[in-house]
Amino acid sequence: MRVTQQMLNQNAIRNMSQNLSRFEKINNQVSSGKLLHRPSDDPNGVSKAMNLKSTLSANTQFERNTNEAKLWMNETGQNIDSMVNAMQRVRELAVQGNNGTYSELDQTAMAAEIEELTEQMRQLANAKVNGKSLFNGQKTGEQPFPEKGSIAVDPTDLIAKTFTIGEGIKIQSSVLPDELFGTAADANNLFQTLQSISTNLKAGSSIDLDKIDAGIDRLLTVGAENGVRQNRVEAVENRLLDSNLELKSMLSRVEDIDYAEAVIKLKSEESVYQASLAATSKIIQPSLMDFLR
């Protein structure tokens, strides 16, 4: 093949610019730390990275939801514990009242304490978390028992508060007042029981301890259910944290560069480019003219 100066020129320029553009690309990767800059870098990888990012963003949100759910459940549990304590004091007083050995004055004092405890129970039932009513389902802006003496809740549309803690996983994070105290129509309604205790004490008639026990049992059962759900949330939270870590490392494998590999490649591209510059400078200079005198 006959070789001419222009050929050498064109080929040298083409090779140099190819080397330079590869050099530029790897340089860009090293300086940004990212393997993928545009969809054509790796169409499949880019779509995978986008998918992973979406899943990661959903997971982060689930984590936030889990924390919120935990807060609600802890508050629910603590409030129920306080209620149980108050009810146990009520039971002690009721047992004393049933003895029949106390004076009328004592009975009145006991009745007054029971009324105080009833008010305490009402306040616990109206407890708020972060400014929101804890025991009023999703109607967190309203209280279940806003007025003293009111024992009936309006059960219309009253749905327990739930949080989404995973893809399609919702968890109940509070309990409804009817679950906790029994409906207003229920013979064992806790507030009704409390009211009848103080009435009976004042009247000196006997107190039905079974009703108190039934109330305490209900509180304990609901509290236990809440505790079980708390365990479930913690399990889900651990899984979320694990999967976050997994997703992040997957994303990193897809879109981050391996620095050791990239820097070696950068060095080799650099030397390839320098070699092409050196070769070009040698090949362009001499011609027969330089030797004819």
Binding site: Q5, M7, S40, S54, Q61, T164, S287
Partner: protein, 422 residues
């Protein structure tokens, strides 16, 4: 018997061919970097000889009369020219498409933390914060702002796609005009070449450069007529473009794919417009689906859907966020349907990536093929300075030798005329 001055004439012919050869070498050297220049060579032959009696039987001897300058021609391979034009047509087409896909990738702006995908993710998150605190005004506001930023990202993408399409249409028009310009110049050159006869080397070079430029814009077939003029037609449908001095202009049509038939850059541009249109349609579908999944109604107003827009006849520029709404709730179907819209978007991005990657490879491959063809053509037609220098020495020596012949003949004549008979 030969004439006394035979030697002078013979020497003179040698001198003039030598001079022509040196001049041609000079022309070659001067044009070593001229685009499209093909090296020229002097074709000479021995001039008709004289019959002289040699006393050897009945046959006459043949006495040489020197050299004759036949022609100065350019060295060129027509087969390689056609090959070069074919490759540059394909390359032109792919380059146009690749440039468009490259710009589309910039417009789509993925993977990034500010693209459409993350805007959709942020809206999904905002919905859940609102679900956690349904009566929180700030959570409501965040949902609306996330929705607004999603719409803004989508609309700005759409706007860029619109301007890309209109730029491509303009470029297509300009390219058709450029092609017409080349066609006219080729016809002009045809005229001059026919008038000058078939040896107008430099005009032919100029014409070949123009034909090559034309071949990147469209796919052409070139026939050289016996009078030296080119007749050019479209290879797709044999439509005449240039015939002698006559020009048949090409027309850019705005309709979809109308200039696909031309091939080359023109076809690449009209395919580009189609590609941009299809991505715009897909984007509009994604945005429409996602908005519908997050609840969209045409009426707006209080307590209505998050987005105001027409689901049946979706228009990306008209969709708005319903800032009036005061009790927004995430529609039950959101998770599934919005995930479907997001996955459609991911599909769009990876399809674009694959298409763009294929275009980059095609441009590289056809570029390399074109370069290889150009090398082979340069190998035939290019000027080699080493070769020209060696030739120069050769011609200089032949010129010197011819000059010596003249001076020697002069000495002979001096002997006869001035020194004899005294």
């Amino acid at each position: 018997m030969v004439s006394s001055f035979h030697g002078l004439e013979l020497g003179k012919r040698g001198l003039s061919v030598g001079q022509a050869s040196i001049a041609t070498t000079g022309q070659n050297i001067a044009n070593v970097n001229t685009k499209g220049y093909s090296r020229q060579q002097v074709n000479s032959s021995a001039s008709p000889s004289l019959d002289v009696w040699t006393g050897q039987g009945a046959n006459t001897g043949q006495l040489g009369t020197g050299v004759n300058l036949d022609s100065i021609t350019r060295v060129r391979d027509r087969f390689l020219d056609q090959q070069f034009r074919d490759h540059s047509e394909t390359l032109g087409q792919w380059q146009a498409k690749q440039t468009t896909l490259d710009r589309l990738e910039t417009i789509v702006n993925e993977p990034s933390d500010s693209g459409l995908n993350s805007a959709m993710d942020l809206l999904n998150s905002a919905w859940q914060d609102l679900a956690n605190e349904p009566d929180s005004l700030s959570a409501q506001a965040v949902v609306k702002e996330r929705a607004q930023s999603f719409i803004e990202v989508a609309q700005s993408m759409n706007k860029s796609l619109d301007s890309l399409k209109s730029e491509l249409t303009q470029e297509s028009q300009a390219t058709a005009e450029e092609a017409n310009g080349y066609l006219k110049q080729i016809a002009e050159l045809n005229k001059s070449i026919v008038r000058d006869g078939s040896q107008s080397n430099d005009l032919k070079d100029k014409r070949d450069v123009l034909v090559e430029e034309l071949s990147t814009l469209m796919s052409i077939k070139v026939d050289e007529k016996s009078n030296g003029s080119y007749s050019i037609s479209l290879s797709s449908n044999n439509q005449q473009l240039v015939s002698g001095e006559e020009v048949f202009e090409v027309d850019h049509k705005t309709g979809t794919g109308e200039n696909k038939v031309y091939g080359g850059k023109l076809a690449g541009l009209s395919e580009s417009i189609d590609i941009a249109k299809s991505y715009q349609d897909n984007l509009e579908n994604v945005v429409g689906d996602f908005a519908a999944a997050n609840s969209m109604s045409a009426t707006g107003g209080k307590d209505q859907a998050l987005f105001i827009g027409n689901a049946a006849d979706f228009n990306l520029y008209e969709v708005k966020v319903n800032y009036e709404a005061s009790l927004l709730k995430q529609p039950a179907a959101t998770e599934k349907t919005s995930e479907a819209a997001q996955s459609d978007f991911r599909k769009l991005v990876s399809q674009l990536g694959a298409q763009s990657q294929a275009a980059i490879h095609s441009v590289t491959n056809h570029g390399a093929t074109l370069q290889a063809t150009e090398n082979r053509r340069q190998s035939v037609t290019g000027v080699s300075l080493d070769e020209e220098m060696a030739n120069l020495i050769k011609y200089q020596h032949s010129y010197n030798a011819a000059a010596r012949l003249v001076s020697m003949t002069d000495q002979m004549l001096d002997t006869i005329i001035n020194r004899m008979g005294n």
